[in-house]
Amino acid sequence: MSMTYQEFPGVEWIEGAGDFITVDEKLCDGCGNCIRVCLAKCYKMTGKKAHVDNLERCMECGACWYSCPPDAIQFSWPPGGTGFRTLWG
């Protein structure tokens, strides 16, 4: 099964990716960088803590991971054959 979204034509997401990006709430200082850099709107802020809302449109770019000063974000690749793919990159 795979999904497509209107905001990102030409890209599909194959199911089974799981929670390959997570936030360690203890380390998060609420700076909001992850929200400012994520073009797929994957993050939400609750109180002063960011969390991954959903990775449905995540293109695995790593911008959130690179931009998190206290290193609160754990970034890994989804399992083989899952996550985003495109023929037009």
């Binding site: 990102f8 850099v37 985003f84 990159g89």
Partner: protein
């Protein structure tokens, strides 16, 4: 564990560099396994993509003498300067006569599939849909990889060709996450366009756009960087890059990218009136590009090899700081790593001490060195403080105008090296000429000798 899970070499990643390393190893008779996490090679590679001519001149022979799937030969760069929402000046001084070519545009999937085909033809075993999640460590030495399927696969050497966001070299303790100020976030669009329209509007030219920050369309630097339109056979491929950090502050890059592109497409008549009516949006993508990693001393000093492991291409932060082209260095470093892997396995020594020669050969490679240390693009920011348009245009001329050919720049170095090579071996020059002619013909007809089917 069964015997057939032992290899001489495991290459992680079948993007642009991986297959070149695998091809070298398999051709020399090494048992070579290439792992790729995507369904089809290249379907997770989001890139520009225009590959400069020197990548092909100095790439392994199977690329130079082959029929890779390329889109369009580009012979001229048009730099458009925007003020008050309109183009007020152009710099078209960078061009080259046919059959020579400045850069070939290409889609990632067809080209990565073609490269992987060649590696498989040479004897590489390719496993797609497989993520390498960890390294097998033995007495501090890399001895293989663990996959997401839970398999442990052992090898004498691991070549890490996993691209920018690679986690394996971090796990090996060899490299660290790239600093935020070396990165740009790129948004990319793919538009279908009838071939006659592409010919009429662009021909064999790519276009760059420059404006001061107040325009909020695309700044020379600051939180805006380049905006370009790359031109394919019957499509066009714009890309807009933004720095993630300015003055230590993480920008609202997500909003800027959307806003800037919206403003560009609705105000600049070149797009609104000439191009928009003739194109249909087919895809929209984004990715992080480590364009200035090479200029960062700490990054340059991070190791690119360890015990049992070599790191190539983007995983080793080898994107050119001038043009943002990473394919040439991915190919050059992959070829060196492939050679060193063959020598190491034959010598029965894959220790860090032996693999040190990979490091040395990469450092001695003129083109890799020149491209990593090129500050021309970074220096465009010096036009910002005085809001100095003339300075911006002067610097753009150095980067994407005729200034490119100066001896001290990478392109000047390429010309110098090419001339030396030609005087040593005139036969080699003939091969280059044949290459240009063959590639140009293939771009016309859409021909390539790809073996694998994919969709």
């Amino acid at each position: 564990m069964s015997m057939n899970e032992d290899y001489d070499v495991i290459v992680v990643g079948a993007g642009f560099g991986g297959p070149v390393a695998a091809h070298k190893c398999a051709s020399a008779g090494l048992r070579t396994l290439m792992l790729e996490r995507s369904v089809t090679p290249g379907d997770k590679v989001v890139s520009g993509l225009a590959i400069p001519f020197y990548a092909f001149l100095y790439a392994p022979e199977f690329i130079r003498d082959g029929n890779p799937p390329l889109e369009r030969p580009i012979r001229q760069v048009v730099n458009n300067f925007i003020r008050d929402g309109e183009i007020y000046a152009k710099d078209t001084s960078l061009w080259i006569p046919p059959p020579l070519v400045l850069t070939y545009t290409a889609y990632c999937v067809p080209l990565c599939v073609w490269l992987a085909d060649r590696a498989v033809e040479a004897g590489t075993e390719l496993r797609t849909r497989t993520t390498a999640v960890d390294l097998v460590m033995e007495d501090g030495k890399v001895a293989g990889v663990v996959t997401d399927k839970g398999d442990t696969i052992r090898a004498k050497v691991v070549i890490d060709a996993a691209g920018t966001q690679d986690g394996l070299a971090l796990k090996a303790g060899l490299r660290k996450k790239l600093p935020t100020d070396t990165l740009e976030l790129y948004m990319l669009w793919d538009y279908e366009m009838a071939r006659e329209d592409v010919e009429r509007e662009f021909g064999n030219k790519v276009e760059f756009f420059c404006a001061m920050p107040d325009e909020r369309i695309v700044a020379p630097l600051g939180f805006g960087s380049t905006f370009y339109i790359f031109v394919y056979r019957d499509s066009i491929h714009p890309g807009l890059g933004q720095f993630i950090v300015t003055e230590d502050k993480v920008e609202n890059v997500a909003r800027h990218l959307e806003d800037y592109f919206e403003r560009f497409t609705t105000t600049v008549s070149r797009w609104r009136d000439d191009i928009a009516p003739k194109v249909t949006l087919r895809a929209k993508m984004f990715d992080v590009c480590p364009i200035y990693a090479g200029l960062d001393r700490n990054v340059r000093e991070m190791p690119i090899h360890g015990d049992g492991m070599m790191i190539i291409g983007d995983a080793a932060a080898m994107e050119s700081a001038a043009f943002g082209d990473g394919v040439p260095n991915a190919w050059f470093s992959a070829a060196i790593a492939g050679d060193v892997a063959v020598e190491a396995v034959k010598a029965g020594d894959t220790s860090a001490g032996f693999l040190q020669r990979y490091d040395e050969r990469v450092k001695a490679h003129n083109l890799i060195g020149a491209s990593l240390s090129d500050t021309r693009r970074y220096d465009m920011r010096w036009a910002l403080p005085g809001n100095d348009e003339r300075e911006m245009r002067r610097r753009a001329h150095e980067l994407f105008g005729r200034g490119v050919w100066r001896w001290r720049h990478i392109t000047g170095q390429v010309v110098r090296e090419a001339m030396q090579a030609m005087s040593r071996d005139p036969g080699g020059a003939l091969k280059w000429l044949k290459m240009f002619n063959r590639f140009n013909r293939n771009c016309e007809t859409g021909f390539s000798d790809t073996l694998s089917k994919y969709e």
